[in-house]
Symmetry: C2
Subunit: 220 residues, 2 copies
């Protein structure tokens, strides 16, 4: 009967095969997601109206609902796809690398490269992290937790190998702060490319973790 967006709808109903079927439906949906990402980036999730999204994607207001059942699910699709992709790329890049310091540098480089190549999507991921509710929120939270745990693992290994002492939690969250804050200030005309930025942040962060003198005013 044709109420397609009420179900989850994976690639025109088929179960996803190996590469990507890329049906008409999938391609149009991807286009809409791209335009919606730009609008969410510029006006924020709450501040962007369905009419804004309609205008940006060149599709009628009602037409959008053929592709997703609610504004919230649209944000979910954007966040899930973005987060899944960055985790996937990270895993591929980490494969075969054994040195913990190099692994951390790869983590940072992967994050910043993807961030700058997909600024709008990553801003929506960072800035609208608490906009989803219940089921949507928990599914994105699961991916985030996996990403977080990977970083924790790398730092734990670095710590073990070099006999360092620092709070892994604070270190990881400080690193995420350094990296994610970039969406508030990065200017393509002024700032260096991802590789150089990743190098500078890696230097600050990694050297910061090495204990030359333990904590400062320890003891008392």
């Amino acid at each position: 009967m044709g109420s397609p967006s009420t179900a989850v709808r994976v690639s025109a109903g088929r179960h996803r095969a190996a590469p990507a079927p890329a049906t008409r439906y999938d391609k149009r949906l991807a286009e809409i997601l791209t335009h919606a990402t730009d609008v969410f980036c510029e006006k924020g999730y709450e501040g962007a109206s369905m009419r804004d999204l309609s205008r940006a994607s060149g599709m009628s207001l009602a037409g959008l609902y053929y592709y997703f059942e609610s504004k919230e699910r649209l944000l979910f699709l954007i966040q899930k796809h973005t987060f899944t992709t960055i985790v996937q790329r990270l895993k591929a890049r980490l494969e075969g690398v054994r040195d913990p310091e190099e692994q951390v540098r790869i983590f940072i480089l992967n994050h910043l490269e993807y961030f700058l190549a997909n600024q709008a999507a990553m801003k929506v991921l960072s800035h609208e992290a608490d906009a989803l509710k219940n089921g949507f929120a928990s599914e994105v939270a699961a991916i985030k937790r996996e990403y977080y745990r990977i970083c924790v693992g790398l730092l734990e290994e670095l710590k073990r190998e070099r006999g360092l002492q620092f709070s892994t939690r604070i270190a990881v969250l400080s690193l995420f702060g350094m990296m994610n804050w970039i969406y508030t200030w990065h200017n393509a005309r002024v700032d260096a490319d991802a590789e150089q930025l990743a190098g500078e942040m890696s230097d600050i962060f990694l050297r910061g973790l090495m204990n030359g003198s333990r904590a400062r005013k320890d003891g008392h």
Copy 2:
């Protein structure tokens, strides 16, 4: 006649004397700002409705407009007061301190202490940084620029004194990222207090700036 909120209204029309008149008007406005801060923190600026603010502050919807002329101006008042206060406290604390490293540590401690003591306000300041427009935006931006420049000054001095080499811009913005990101993860039941967090972040950041080996793969 009584259309008070159309003018800027400084403490019941009087020109502000030395300490603080603290009229009835001022006190009530401060209460409203406090409640509004909590609501903006929880639901975001766009996501919070005037009716939410009315409910939270226990004042009728129309009554709120006696104290400010628009929702946007309310956010502006919150941001301006918060930012002004943190800059003011910083200046007081930096007075008399000469050692650049100690100055940077004070900067970080001041920021985190105020952040954790006023989490809602600081989240509204960080997370809704782009919500204001035109005149409101530029006035807050001016304070932000001053705050930023103070930090740049401290790092430049540290760099000069110790003969270090790093990009001040990247360093400052990385530091702000580390510090401001805290609103996304800090949990009072799990995490340490401001002083300890400031110590750990200062250690990571400051040690990160000291060049033991210059940049890594330099040359090529």
